[in-house]
């Protein structure tokens, strides 16, 4: 693999509230190469979005990126950059698209104005030039009659069209990294597929690194080269998409996969992971997943398992004591049936 474009090391984002410290992201590390797609999977509330916003340093007080976290873009340390430097990174070198295309566009400006804005900010482009480039971007993301649609307002666009317009906005300045935070969650399945195809095509065409966040394993499997699974603010498993979906090693990944419905396979009932993600104010001691884990034993309740290495790893004591992997999710499901 080529030299990493983006390297995140030991990222910890804490929210210092009056009720205590919320450790939303607690020691996340990953790298992203040019042209590579990194999938981030996890349930709601596991810290995916906060991790993404942290990369762009868009965390508002009381949130704070803790001192020994490091985020580097090529060789630049973004955690040490000034606010002014960060502004020239956002939308220019690292762009982000959001979950809700319905509300991510400003209703009072035309689509063209909004795409041109990034160009005028970062490239000091003249209005005519920015407009030409905006039309080009709209064509690139597959919107027909771009010249005409430039002058339309967001409410005249459908959900899928708006997400395309958002992508056009994000890519207008040719960023080297695109962060897509659940970009298809709010869309119809058919539109979802179109947007995914579009993102994959654009990534290939423009050679940018893509971070794709989703709770939908099917989508991640489709688009990602490498995947990290997050649970309770930490990475619990990492590996290539094939490795992770073929042979998940962490009990949480296993559970997630089992909880995913598949077309063409009839199941009597979908299995669920019992319980929900604990409160980030009080993560459980030991392994953070142990209260919901079917394999948990005494060691899990006391000692924190490490995440050995980065490429292919699982944060679980089963790695050291594989013999204990018995029963598990099937037994749990059976027990529930009775």
């Amino acid at each position: 693999m080529s030299a990493p474009l983006l390297r995140v090391e030991n990222l910890r984002t804490y929210f210092h509230t009056a009720e205590g410290v919320v450790r939303a992201v607690d020691g996340v590390s990953f790298t992203l190469g040019p042209g590579e797609t990194l999938g981030i999977v996890g349930e709601s509330g596991c810290g995916k979005t906060v991790a993404c916003l942290s990369i762009l340093r868009l965390i508002d007080p009381p949130g704070r990126i803790e001192p020994d976290s490091r985020i580097s873009l090529r060789d630049r340390d973004l955690t040490a950059a000034s606010e002014g430097e960060m502004r020239s990174v956002r939308g220019n070198e690292i762009s982000m698209i959001f979950q809700e295309p319905m509300t991510s566009l400003n209703p009072v400006w035309t689509i063209g104005d909004q795409i041109a804005e990034a160009l005028r900010t970062h490239r000091s482009a003249r209005p005519a030039e920015a407009r030409r480039r905006a039309a080009e971007m709209l064509r690139l993301v597959g919107i027909p009659n771009p010249e005409q649609r430039l002058d339309e307002y967001p409410h005249q666009f459908s959900g899928g069209m708006r997400q395309r317009a958002m992508i056009a906005m994000a890519l207008a300045c040719d960023p080297s990294v695109l962060i897509a935070d659940e970009p298809t969650t709010a869309l119809d399945v058919t539109i979802q597929a179109e947007i995914l195809d579009l993102l994959a095509r654009l990534q290939e065409q423009l050679g940018m690194g893509l971070i794709f966040v989703s709770h939908d394993l099917g989508i991640i499997a489709q688009i990602a080269d490498r995947v990290i699974v997050m649970y309770a603010g930490q990475v619990v498993e990492s590996g290539t998409a094939d490795e992770l979906f073929g042979r998940p090693r962490h009990p949480y990944s296993e559970g997630l996969l089992r909880a995913t419905p598949r077309v063409g396979r009839r199941m009597r009932r979908l299995s669920v992971i019992p319980g929900s993600v604990a409160s980030p104010k009080r993560w459980p001691p030991g392994c953070r997943f142990h209260p919901r884990c079917p394999y948990a034993w005494s060691r899990c309740r006391e000692d924190v398992p490490p995440l050995p290495g980065e490429a292919r790893a699982s944060r679980c004591w089963l790695e050291e004591e594989p013999a204990r992997r018995t029963g598990g999710w099937d037994e749990l499901a059976l027990a529930e049936d009775h």
Partner: protein
């Protein structure tokens, strides 16, 4: 329908035919079925022509009088006529309207507003009032402050010579109400501009940045609001000379907290909308996000507050004038004309009644417009 397409072809071939509609303002609109627009244009043009016909001497005297307000009236007259005619010509000769339905939020709001008859009536009243103040020198043959033979002209009841009678110095009340409207409306307009600008900036900054900035600004606003307004006004005006300038500044500087509150509330909810996050992720600086992305989204409620505030400020100013704390006689303002007629209410009811009616009509007009705008700009009615 056939006729319409026939006309369209005519235009395509013949270009600018000198039809009757090209000469009579409004006819072009009427023929295209836009009744209200047509009648308004026609009425406006006729009214201007009537002014020209009935007071031709005074219009002609503009060139010799050497007074600014005569020139302003002249410009208004000519400008209104030209505008009415120009709009008609565009409807007659211009290409058939390509974008018949505007799609921006403002275009949608305008259509919504137009559906509300009462609000449109308010708008007509307001436009009429502003036109009348600008045309004042042409509409009356008297001077507002000139005092003639008091014994002969004192307290004359309303008649054709004096539409609203005369006051204790024999001055024409109609003239004074007209000129007083200038003062009252300008005070309202300028004071509202000051308070809305200040309120929007303070509210937006406070709501967007939150935290300590918000706390400091909002406690200051609370402090201003918790003062009894009239006492504050009287104190400040007592410290300075009561003049138009003082009143404008004081009203402008004391009424902004209400706008700031409204704007802050709106911004607090807008700030959490994803397009603000998206704007930050695009690398835009805070001032740009506030003034380009957030403020245009709060303009609706701000415009409503401003319109309602105009009526309110005119009322407050009238009250202050009545107390002798605003514009000083002989310069007329609605409040001090009422005050001047107070002692003679039984003998000469007209002196106080007509400016009072003017205040009522104006405030009602502004409130009708404000209510219409509130309905038209309410974001909850749309996506």
């Amino acid at each position: 329908m056939n006729e319409a397409s026939g006309r369209a072809e005519d235009r395509a071939d013949g270009g600018r035919a000198l039809t009757a509609a090209a000469f009579i303002p409004g006819l072009a609109h009427l023929r295209r079925g836009r009744r209200r627009a047509g009648l308004s244009l026609l009425g406006l043009a006729l009214a201007m022509l009537a002014v020209l016909a009935f007071s031709f001497d005074r219009v002609a005297s503009t060139f010799t009088a050497g007074r600014v307000d005569y020139w302003v009236a002249m410009l208004t007259l000519a400008g209104t006529l030209a505008a009415a005619w120009g709009v008609s010509l565009r409807a007659e000769w211009g290409r058939p309207r390509q974008r018949a339905e505007g799609t921006s939020q403002w275009a949608i709001a305008w259509r919504e507003f137009n559906r509300n008859r009462v609000a449109v009536l308010g708008l007509f009243l307001m436009c009429g009032l502003y036109l009348a103040t600008l045309l004042a020198p042409y509409l009356t043959s008297y001077e507002p402050n000139a005092i003639g033979d008091i014994a002969a002209t004192r307290h004359l009841p309303p008649s054709l010579d004096h539409l609203m009678g005369t006051d204790k110095f024999g001055r024409d009340v109609f003239t004074r109400v007209l000129y007083g409207a200038r003062i009252s409306l300008s005070i309202g307009f300028v004071a509202v501009s000051i308070s809305v600008t200040l309120g929007t900036v303070v509210g937006a900054v406070s709501g967007y940045f939150g935290g300590a900035v918000d706390t400091v600004l909002m406690r200051f606003v609370d402090m201003l609001i918790s003062f009894p307004r009239l006492v504050l006004l009287i104190t400040v005006i007592a410290l300075f000379e009561p003049s138009i300038f003082t009143v404008i500044v004081v009203l402008g500087l004391t009424l902004w907290p209400a706008t700031a509150r409204i704007v802050r509330g709106e911004v607090l909810s807008l700030r959490e909308r994803e397009f603000v996050e998206a704007a930050r992720a695009l690398g835009l600086a805070s001032p740009r996000i506030i003034f380009r992305h957030i403020v245009p989204n709060v303009l609706g409620p701000v415009i409503v507050a401003a319109t309602l505030g105009l009526g309110n400020i005119i009322l407050i100013e009238a009250g202050l004038s009545f107390l002798g704390l605003s514009v000083q006689p002989p310069t007329p303002s609605w409040g001090n004309i009422i005050d001047g007629g107070r002692e003679y209410l039984v003998q000469a009811w007209w002196v106080s009644t007509f400016p009072g009616l003017a205040i009522v009509v104006t405030v009602v007009a502004f409130n009708l417009i404000g209510d219409g705008l509130r309905d038209a700009l309410d974001p909850r009615l749309r996506i």
